[in-house]
C-alpha cells in the first residue's frame, strides 16, 4: 500500500515537472544513439557536390541498409538545389569510379523523367519529385 502511494506521489511530482522540463528532456532524448534518421528515410550521407550555373547537384551515398544486414537492392538519392533550369540533363557517377553510371533527364515543368543506365547495376527511377529546395530523385540500384 505504501509503495503504491509513494509511486503515485512520485508520478504527481513528475507530471508537474514534465512540461517545465520538456525542452531539456527532449534535447537529452534526442542525443541518444538511436535518435538519428535512417538513411532509407533521409536519403543517406552526402557524397559529392557539383556546383553548376544556377544550382548545385548533390549526390548522396548509395543506401542498401536493411534491418539486420545490407540489402541487395538499394537506391542512390540525388538532389538539385537552387534555381532549376526547365530541363535537367546530368550524367552521374554515384560510385565514384570515374566512369558514368547513368544519365538522368528531367523536364521540370512536366515532371517527366528519363533514365539511361550506363551501369548494369542501375535499375530504374524510384522517386522523382519537386522539393522546397528544387528537385530530388531516388534511383534504384543493385549492390
Amino acid at each position: 500500500m505504501t509503495a503504491g502511494l509513494i509511486w503515485a506521489l512520485c508520478c504527481l511530482i513528475v507530471m508537474i515537472m514534465l512540461y517545465f522540463a520538456l525542452g531539456g528532456l527532449s534535447e537529452g532524448f534526442a542525443k541518444l544513439p538511436f535518435m538519428k534518421l535512417n538513411p532509407n528515410t533521409n536519403g543517406g550521407e552526402l557524397a559529392q557536390q557539383v556546383v553548376m550555373d544556377n544550382c548545385t547537384l548533390m549526390i548522396r551515398k548509395p543506401v542498401f541498409d536493411g534491418l539486420l544486414r545490407e540489402r541487395n537492392k538499394g537506391f542512390v538519392q540525388i538532389e538539385w538545389k537552387g534555381d532549376l533550369p526547365g530541363k535537367i540533363n546530368d550524367t552521374i557517377d554515384y560510385n565514384m569510379d570515374s566512369s558514368p553510371d547513368f544519365v538522368i533527364g528531367i523536364i521540370v515543368p512536366e515532371n517527366q523523367v528519363n533514365l539511361v543506365a550506363l551501369n548494369p547495376k542501375v535499375r530504374d527511377v524510384g522517386i522523382s519529385t519537386s522539393t522546397s529546395y528544387g528537385w530530388a530523385a531516388r534511383i534504384n540500384i543493385d549492390k
Partner: protein, 383 residues
C-alpha cells in the same frame, strides 16, 4: 440517498471545489503563458484567456459535480477537433494543400504523432536509427518531444493516455456518444485482442521494410489530417483505405455500438498502452461490498474493458482507459479511481483527487496549444 452512498459521493462544496481548482489554475496559467504573460496581441490574448478559463471551469466542475467522464470528454473531443484543424492549417500554410507529396517525405518534413511509436521500436533497436521522415528535434511536432511526452504519460497514466492524452481518441469517443442506446450489442469479446494483431503486423512490416507501414497504409486519421497526394493506383488505394477506415471504425461503428471501436480494435499504440497499465499507479477499482451486480458499468464502458466476469471478480481489465464512464454510471458508487496496492473503498477521494490532477494537467497543457490556435483563428475572423 442511503448513508453509505452519501459518504462516497465525490461532490464537493463550491468553496472546496474552488480550493481544489486553485493549484490547477496557477499551474495552467504559468505553463500556458510560459511564465511571461504577453497581452500585446489582442486576438492571441482573447484566445489564451478563453482557453485558460474554459479548462479551469471544466476542472472545477469535475470537483463540484463529482462527475468525470462527460467533462473529460468535452475537453478530449475539443482536443481531437482542434488538433486536426491545427494540423490541416499547418499543412495548408506550408504546402497550400491538405496532401503531402513525396518531396515532403524526402525532405523529412512530416509532423510526428504518437501512433508511429510502435513502428519505431524494432528498427531503433536493430539499426540504431529512426525510420520516420520527421524532425528529430525542433520544428512542428518533433519526434523527440512527442516520444518524451508519450513515455511520461504512459508510465504515469498507463492506458489512461487513451482517454486523457491522445489527440485522436476524441474522434471515436465523440461519435460513440451520438446515440442513446447502441444498435449493435452482441460483439465477441475476443475482438479486443485485435490491436495486438495489428501491432504485431505493423511492428514486423515496418521493421522489415524500414518504413512506417501503419502511417503509409492503415491510419484512419490520415483522413482528417493529411494524406499522400494521389498520383497512381497505390496512392489512390491508400487514400481509399484511410477514408474507409475512418468512416468504418471512427464514425459508423462507434455510432452503432456506442464503443470506441478504432481505439479498441485497430490502434497499435493502444495495445502498447494497454501493457503500460501494469506500470501506472492509478487504476479503477470495484468495491465488491457495495456492488450489487447490476452491470450498468459494463454497458457504459466504451472500451470493452469490463465484462460481467470482471465485475464478479471485482477487478477492471488491463484495457481500461480510466475515462470514468463506468464510475459515473454506477448507481451505488461502487467503482472508483484507486491507487495500486490501496484496497478498494480506502482513500477513495484522495485517489480521485490525485488522479484527476495528474491526468487533467497533462491533457490541459497538451491540448491548450491547438485550442488556442483554433480560438485565435475564429477571433481573427471577427476582429
Amino acid at each position: 440517498m442511503d448513508e453509505a452512498i452519501k459518504n462516497l459521493t465525490m461532490r464537493k462544496s463550491f468553496g472546496k471545489s474552488m480550493l481544489y481548482t486553485l493549484p490547477m489554475f496557477l499551474l495552467t496559467f504559468i505553463l500556458m503563458t510560459g511564465g511571461r504573460p504577453d497581452f500585446s496581441d489582442r486576438s492571441g490574448t482573447i484566445a489564451l484567456l478563453t482557453t485558460f478559463l474554459g479548462l479551469n471551469i471544466l476542472y472545477f466542475l469535475m470537483h463540484y459535480t463529482g462527475k468525470t467522464d462527460k467533462l473529460r470528454a468535452i475537453l478530449f473531443i475539443v482536443f481531437a477537433l482542434t488538433l486536426s484543424f491545427t494540423l490541416i492549417k499547418n499543412t495548408i500554410d506550408i504546402r497550400q494543400t491538405m496532401t503531402y507529396s513525396q518531396g515532403d517525405i524526402l525532405e523529412c518534413n512530416m509532423p510526428f504523432c504518437h501512433l508511429v511509436i510502435p513502428m519505431l521500436i524494432l528498427p531503433a533497436a536493430f539499426t540504431q536509427s529512426i525510420i520516420y521522415p520527421g524532425s528529430i528535434l525542433g520544428g512542428f511536432a518533433s519526434i523527440s518531444a512527442m516520444v518524451v511526452l508519450w513515455l511520461a504519460a504512459s508510465v504515469i497514466l498507463g492506458r489512461g493516455f487513451c482517454s486523457w492524452g491522445c489527440f485522436y481518441g476524441g474522434w471515436d469517443d465523440g461519435f460513440s456518444r451520438f446515440r442513446k442506446k447502441p444498435a449493435i450489442r452482441k460483439i465477441s469479446d475476443s475482438w479486443k485482442w485485435m490491436p495486438f494483431a495489428v501491432l504485431l503486423m505493423v511492428a514486423l512490416t515496418s521493421a522489415l521494410a524500414l518504413t512506417p507501414t501503419y502511417c503509409d497504409w492503415m491510419c484512419p486519421f490520415k483522413a482528417v489530417t493529411e494524406f499522400e497526394e494521389v498520383t497512381g493506383i497505390e496512392s489512390a488505394a491508400k487514400a481509399g483505405i484511410f477514408i474507409s477506415l475512418f468512416g468504418g471504425f471512427v464514425v459508423v461503428l462507434p455510432v452503432l455500438t456506442k464503443k470506441r471501436t478504432q481505439c479498441s480494435y485497430l490502434c497499435p499504440l493502444g495495445a502498447i498502452n494497454t501493457l503500460s497499465n501494469k506500470v501506472s499507479p492509478f487504476i479503477v477499482k470495484i468495491d465488491k461490498q457495495i456492488c450489487n451486480d447490476c452491470y450498468k458499468c459494463v454497458q457504459a464502458c466504451p472500451m470493452f474493458a469490463l465484462t460481467n466476469d470482471d465485475v464478479k471478480k471485482g477487478s477492471v481489465s488491463i484495457f481500461c482507459t480510466k475515462c470514468g464512464k463506468c464510475i459515473d454510471a454506477c448507481p451505488k458508487q461502487a467503482i472508483h479511481y484507486g491507487i495500486v496496492g490501496v484496497p478498494a473503498n480506502r482513500m477513495v477521494k484522495f485517489s480521485r483527487n490525485i488522479f484527476l490532477f495528474v491526468s487533467f494537467l497533462f491533457i490541459a497543457i497538451f491540448a491548450s496549444g491547438s485550442i488556442i490556435t483554433v480560438v485565435k483563428s475564429f477571433v481573427n475572423l471577427f476582429i
